[in-house]
Amino acid sequence: MSTNELEPIGVELLESNGPKVDRSRTTGTPDKFLRVDDLHVHFPTDDGMVKAVDGLTFDLEKGTTLGIVGESGSGKSVTSLAIMGLHRGSRAKVSGHIWLDGEDLLQVSDEELRSLRGRKMAMIFQDPLSSLHPYYTIGQQLTEALQVHQKVTKKQARTHVVDMLGRVGIPNPDRRFDQYPHEFSGGMRQRAMIAMALLNDPELLIADEPTTALDVTVQAQILDLMRSLQDEFGSAIIMITHDLGVVAEIADDVLVMYGGKCVEYAEVDDAFHQPDHPYTWGLMSSMPRLDRVKQERLVPVAGNPPSLINIPSGCAFNPRCAFKDASPVACDAVVPELLESYPKHDSRCHIPVPKRAELFAERVAPRL
């Protein structure tokens, strides 16, 4: 399939919503450490094409963290798998560019990709128990991850692995080295997964809901750990989560996904203090807050997340949007572009920017 077929049709540009974001760079090597450029991941199925990721662009510098937020089916995990090259060999159709330090990951050979994976980029999965092999000890699994990329003796590997287990806060790492995953608690397993991801000092770390299955006290420990490891190694981190609290705590930039597309992309302060997309507003007002006296009622987003086979025409969010009356354009007919509403703050909405600011201040902010 050529990329042309994937271009949205019937796009109109609204000048009032700010300049079109430069999303068209396809030649040359970008200067950013990671640049995902117009990424599409589509899965052909018997029921039709599932457009899990549909034109996603973002970039990330070393030493910073990008939080990707979205509900189930928004395409956030599929994006991370695409960066790791884990769709290769499946039926997924991946197009666009993923530049990592000057190399386009979608063009490199399987061989090269394998050498990048685990060394230059590593991933932490949500469920540590199903990501660890039950038949091998923690030590065996971590040693393997090290030996794939580095020529080290068994003894050196053990020293290195034990050291890393200690650094992620596992007590008695020398004894723990010889234990099996089932002997670890949930938090300890996730620490072991993080240790495995960090063994080869990766420059890019992708964490897919790393704390969702954990208790809050353990979550706090893991987030602290990731922050201090970032200070130490200067890695770039992509943190995928559905918890806005986690994003506020750890991210520098935020990307909100809906129906396979980015709907809002901003620095973390802007995203929380001046959110610019009705979906982001919906997420915020449907979340009860620990630090607030009870709001009278939560304001949920009406309806259900869209089916990716049958994405609503026009703006994918329009059937659930409570503010579409304010739009000068037919939201169910025209696909909105991702435009720069404010400096370094992009969003995908037809409602004019000043009107959006007004709606947020009058109708959304008071009930947060």
């Binding site: 509900e71 006290t217 420990q221 918890d243 609290g245 929380f272 620990l290 259900n304 659930r320």
Partner: protein, 326 residues
């Protein structure tokens, strides 16, 4: 008279050291001395980390598990050891909503049959017939009554949880235990189900025991909140005094760990070291002392007694001290 009064409830699970010889080992004390009262129309939030016994407590209160000790009184009647017909009658008043909306609905039954099951089991025929009543229930929880003959797999997670709620309220019970009813749902759907539970409570004067690990959701929905750790109650108070003036170091640590959606806000964080100890071999004295930042020798020797330090605010700690963490 309280709707529900639980006194010193215990649920211990036996363990066996050797499978073949069945030699009993130390029991797992999942719930060890839980006392609570609940009034009609009230919501009690039950929070704690995984393994603290909150789900076991909910199930034991409903008599899905046989209590090892203590008493359960419902509307003044002792139902601790209710069996057979008496228990079946009791279930009209006591219902449950489960965490997993996928696992708690029979995939081979259409949802009309699932929601009608309580009527059939209790041999109750509502006025107007079962089908009409089921469709009214479906409408009430926000499902299309025409979907009466559809199967659970045809519904989304949020809709399945609505089916579970419809089944639980079918017999107009007085108490519903909700065990993590929204934790499997997306954020936007979570709010829909929370609002539904609140509306039904207001209409029917239902009491909820709301079990959850999400402290923000619990603050929103509960009137009173109980914090559990390793089978024991650490602190109970009404919602606002618990969140604004927590006195137990465990409550404080738990709350300080919750991320708040406000970037660059400096909050003091009380980090707990280590993991939950095994409930088979809990620490002596105060069960929390192995992870407590302020524990002393006294905590290992003496078990703290739950004490009412302010009206309605009960704390089980030798060194209670208000500390604002939220």
């Amino acid at each position: 008279m309280s709707l529900l009064r639980v006194t010193d409830l215990k649920k211990h699970f036996p363990t066996y050291n050797q499978k073949l010889l069945r030699r009993p080992g130390a029991p797992v004390k999942a719930v060890d001395g839980l006392s609570l009262t609940l009034e009609a129309g009230e919501t009690l939030g039950l929070v704690g980390e995984s393994g603290c016994g909150k789900s076991t407590a909910g199930r034991t209160i409903l008599k899905l598990l046989e209590p090892t000790g203590g008493t359960i009184e419902f509307e003044g009647r002792d139902v601790t050891h209710a069996k057979g017909e008496e228990l079946r009658h009791l279930r009209r008043e006591l219902q449950m909503v489960f965490q997993d909306p996928y696992g708690s609905l029979n995939p081979r039954h259409p949802i009309g049959q699932i929601i009608a099951a309580p009527f059939e089991i209790q041999k109750v025929t509502p006025p107007g017939g079962i089908k009409k009543e089921v469709q009214a229930l479906m409408e009430r929880v926000g499902l299309n009554p025409e979907h009466y003959n559809r199967y659970p797999h045809e519904f989304s997670g949020g809709q399945r949880q609505r089916i579970g709620v419809a089944r639980a309220i079918a017999l107009k019970p007085k108490l519903v235990v909700c065990d993590e009813p929204v934790s499997a749902l997306d954020v936007s759907i979570q709010a829909q189900v929370i609002n539904l539970l609140e509306d039904i409570q207001n209409e029917q004067n239902l009491a909820y025991v709301f079990i959850a690990h999400d402290l923000s959701v619990v603050r929103h929905i509960s009137d009173r909140v109980m914090v559990m750790y390793l089978g024991k109650v650490m602190e109970v108070a009404d919602r606002n005094s618990l969140y604004e003036r927590p006195m137990h170091p465990y409550t404080q640590a738990l709350m300080s760990a919750v991320p708040v959606p406000e970037p660059r806000r400096d909050r003091e964080r009380i980090l707990l070291s280590g993991d939950l100890p095994s409930p088979q071999n809990p620490p002596s004295g105060c069960v929390f002392r192995t992870r407590c930042p302020i524990a002393t020798d006294r905590c290992a020797a003496e078990t703290p007694i739950p004490t009412e330090l302010e009206p309605g605010h009960i704390v089980a700690c030798h060194y209670p001290k208000v500390r604002e963490v939220v």
